[in-house]
């Protein structure tokens, strides 16, 4: 190619580039756009198939449950404007708010009946259906024992009135209804499009936003739903959700002004961010517990005193202060403080003794179990691949070494890790739990015998089980909480878990983003937010 032709081509290319840049810059106009970076690609936008917090951002903006979350995530009336509860706490009657789907079709009580039957139908294969087991016959239908879904304890009295009957009084039931498993789905659209109903173009919801675009691994775009009942108070016109698993890359985009809200920045970045972006860096307690679980179904951890020894020897404060510096709270109990409003986690007496003293006592316990220098206790610590999990495991390994315990670290990728937990093929393992609803029961039930594979360590204590069943039979909050406090005390005194810390949420929030309220559920709905400045 002659030289000048090349030059001409290059010049044209450069012009194209400049023009493209200009176009990209020129698209900015008065439309108010919120750009959220979530933690990963949504599995689906069908609320009945969703199971992750990153999906909750999208579906929670697109659908409105009977109850919904305020800006600070407290439950407030949603699709239901009012309700009554029978004296025995078993029958809830909801009066629906007159409102429509985003295509203008009215939302009726029948839609809720259809939705609840659909998620519990085994053919739907909904991962999270078990959350609705408090509803009468839900468990039987979902497990296939009852094949007729119309036996479900949900009925439409008239188009505006819905009645739900429960198995037992479930004091957290209203809170549970804010969860995406209880969202209504549009029957008329599903019947027309089948599984294609969630595709942009077909998508219909009753929430503040409607999904209009989904490019896998790139973005989901929702626009304001003009038919939303409270549309007048919704300020943001368009929400773009960027799914991205590379936390560091997202933080760069946030710093470049391309993202308004980043969910969960990398913990390794915290010191840098606190220094560089102090106003944007938001760390807040979250309803979650990070714990080590002992496999109690086989030696050596069928021996409670060994569990006690190892739990006592973990210096949680040192791990938080020197290793994980993101403000997590050292944990000794099962449910985090303030769960359900004012939960006080149990703190065993040994937790307040000086660490050196605890180590001595732990040594004695290990020795009493028959382990000494020539017969050291050998354990395997399992964790899933992650820099933080590894650092914590290494720290715990060295703390246990002081007791003469030889701990070996076993690192597995996440799917394999949870598979081995499910099979109870481990000795001590790292695990974590983030609450689905704001009630201590949502943590404590993990230790019930009937929780099966969710009770990783196979902890089983009849007294604990009895208390957990009984707390579900009363609606008296004080009485319930007292029973659960007692249950937690039993489980911790049995050292079913060695809790390590209570989680925090780590977000980057642009200073232009208004209406974002830190909260323990870490749920932030776009309808309460706006972009200013």
């Amino acid at each position: 190619m002659p030289r000048n032709t090349l030059r001409v081509v290059l010049r044209r290319l450069a012009l194209c580039g400049v023009a493209a840049l200009g176009l990209a810059a020129g698209t900015a106009h008065a439309e108010m756009v919120l750009r959220i970076a979530t933690m990963g690609e949504p599995k689906t936008l069908d609320p009945h198939g969703v199971s992750g917090t990153w999906e909750n951002y999208i579906v929670g903006d697109a659908f409105l449950g009977l109850l919904t979350e305020a800006a600070d995530a407290t439950p407030i009336p949603g699709a239901a404007e009012s309700w009554t509860i029978s004296d025995d706490g078993l029958v809830y009657t909801f009066k629906l708010r007159p409102h429509t789907w985003s295509d203008g079709t009215p939302v009726t009580a029948e839609d809720f009946v259809f939705s609840l039957r659909r998620i519990l139908d085994p053919a739907t294969g909904a991962e999270y259906a078990s959350l609705l087991y408090p509803i009468k016959n839900a468990e039987q239908i979902n497990s296939g024992a009852i094949s007729d879904t119309s036996e479900l304890g949900v009925r439409a009295i008239d188009p505006q009135t819905l009645e739900i009957t429960l198995v037992g009084p479930t004091p957290f039931f209203l809170e549970l209804l804010t969860h995406y498993t209880a969202f209504p789905v549009p029957r008329h659209v599903i019947e027309r499009h089948g599984s294609e109903w969630v595709k942009p173009g077909n998508f219909v919801g009753n929430g503040a936003y409607t999904v209009v675009e989904w490019t896998p691994n790139a973005q989901v775009v929702s626009i304001k739903n003009p038919a939303f009942y409270d549309a007048d108070n919704v300020k943001i016109d368009k929400v773009v959700y960027y799914p991205d698993e590379d936390r560091g890359a997202v933080t760069k985009r946030f710093r470049a002004g391309e993202i308004d809200l980043q969910d969960e920045f990398a913990s390794a970045d915290v010191e840098f961010l606190k220094q560089e972006l102090p106003a944007e860096t938001r760390i807040y307690p979250k309803l979650g517990t990070y714990y080590y679980v002992f496999n109690q179904t086989r030696p050596p951890f069928d021996n409670p005193s060994l569990r006690r020894a190892l739990s006592m020897a973990i210096d949680r404060e040192a791990i938080m202060e020197k290793l994980i510096k993101t403000g997590e709270v050292p944990a000794y109990g099962v449910a985090p403080p303030e769960t359900g409003g004012d939960w006080q986690p149990y703190r065993p007496a040994w937790a307040d003794r000086p660490y050196a003293e605890r180590v001595e006592e732990a040594k004695a316990l290990v020795a009493a179990a028959g382990h000494g220098p020539d017969n050291p206790l050998q354990v395997e610590i399992s964790y899933n691949t992650s820099e933080d999990h590894k650092r914590i495991a290494v720290a715990i390994q060295s703390m246990w070494k002081a007791l003469g315990v030889q701990a070996e670290l076993v690192n597995r990728e996440i799917k394999v890790h949870y598979d081995t937990l499910r099979q109870r093929d481990f000795q001590v393992a790292r695990a974590g739990w983030i609450a689905d609803y704001n009630d201590p029961q949502n943590f404590l039930y993990l230790l019930e015998t009937r929780s099966g594979p969710q009770n990783y360590g196979g902890y089983s204590n009849p007294e604990f089980d009895r208390l957990m069943v009984e707390q579900g039979q009363t609606n008296d909050r004080a009485e319930r909480f007292a029973m659960m406090q007692q249950a937690e005390r039993i489980a911790i005194d049995d050292d079913a878990w060695a809790p390590i810390f209570y989680y925090v949420s780590r977000s980057l929030v642009s200073q232009k983003l208004k209406g974002y309220a830190d909260n323990v559920k870490h749920i932030h709905r776009a309808r309460w937010m706006s972009i200013e400045g």
Binding site: L45, D46, A126, R253, K415, Y418
Partner: protein, 307 residues
């Protein structure tokens, strides 16, 4: 030549079949399944899901079901991204990967050739040393360092280009990923060309051309360059395959919705069907690229003739 193409395409089908079979069973040997997760599913629910996806059937039946689907060009459903079939995911992801990878191939070839030829013509001068030191650096700095560095400098600090994102594939969004992907390859091409060019400049036919008194431009452009291109062409095949399939890191760092990212995510999530789909696309791509390289080789080198 036509026969070569036919013959190669005929062997491609059994090759793909073997790849499909091997990957299908190897993948199932890995522990864990698509529905193992932080919150374990209650057994009845797990059973419901496995029934929906036919994962409760024997492995052989699943294999036959899968191959049967493939024959109808049905790659099956994704277990992870439930609202899309694997076919849809590949159709959405492949263009992004091809765009970034393809541009990177062009950039790497053009810049590499220019740098290599310049260095060879000014052998042992400061131009040569500078170009080749640059090339060494390009090879030595891995993608996962180069990509965040480019994003930090041009996206965050200078603010000239987006720090990440796809923007529907608009030009400003793809400049950095293409550069990050192409730079190490520019360096490799430059080194190859420089070596081959220097060798050609001392070859007999070039000396003869010079002796005939041909203009230097013709000597280099027509006689030396043609020979110097051969190693580049044979490298073009693996390079293109590497750039089109190996953009996982760059795709992740710049949030590009390409199939490289699906591959890694799917492997970690045990999203069997997506892994299979990407494997098939990659295998087909490599088979076709190798064929194209062989054909170009025949055109450039008179010693190679396909009959």
């Amino acid at each position: 030549m036509g026969r070569l193409v036919l013959r190669r395409l005929a062997t491609a089908i059994p090759t793909l079949f073997v790849i499909v079979t091997l990957s299908f069973f190897m993948m199932r040997l890995a522990p864990g399944g698509p529905f193992d997760q932080e919150r374990p599913l209650p057994p009845p629910i797990l059973a419901n899901i496995e029934r929906v996806y036919h994962l409760d059937e024997s492995l052989w039946r699943q294999y036959l079901r899968y191959v049967g689907g493939l024959l109808r060009l049905d790659f099956g459903p994704s277990y992870r991204t439930k609202d899309f079939t694997v076919g849809e995911l590949l159709l959405q992801g492949a263009p992004a990967s091809l765009k970034v990878g393809g541009l990177a191939v062009i950039v790497a070839t053009v810049l590499g050739l220019a740098a290599g030829i310049t260095a060879a013509l000014r052998q042992n001068s400061w131009v040569d040393y500078l170009t080749m030191s640059g090339a060494m650096l390009g090879i030595a700095i891995p993608n996962f360092v180069m990509a965040p560095l480019l994003s930090l400098v041009f996206g965050v600090l200078l603010g000239w280009l987006p720090a990440g994102g796809w923007g529907g594939g608009a030009l400003p969004f793809i400049v950095l990923p293409v550069l990050a992907l192409a730079l190490p390859q520019v360096a490799r091409v430059a080194r190859l060309v420089r070596g081959a060019m220097i060798e050609q400049l001392h070859a007999n036919h070039v000396r003869t051309a010079r002796a005939k008194g041909l203009h230097e431009r013709i000597v280099i452009g027509r006689h030396a360059l043609r020979g110097a291109l051969l190693p580049v062409v044979s490298y073009l095949g693996p390079m293109t395959a590497a750039l089109l399939t190996g953009s996982v890191v760059v795709e992740t760092i710049f949030s590009i919705p390409g199939i490289g990212r699906y591959f890694v995510q799917a492997a970690l999530n045990r999203d069997y069907t997506v892994v299979m789909g990407v494997v098939i696309v990659y295998a087909a791509l490599i088979i076709v690229l190798n064929l194209i390289v062989d054909l170009i080789y025949g055109l450039l080198d008179p010693k190679v003739r396909h009959d």
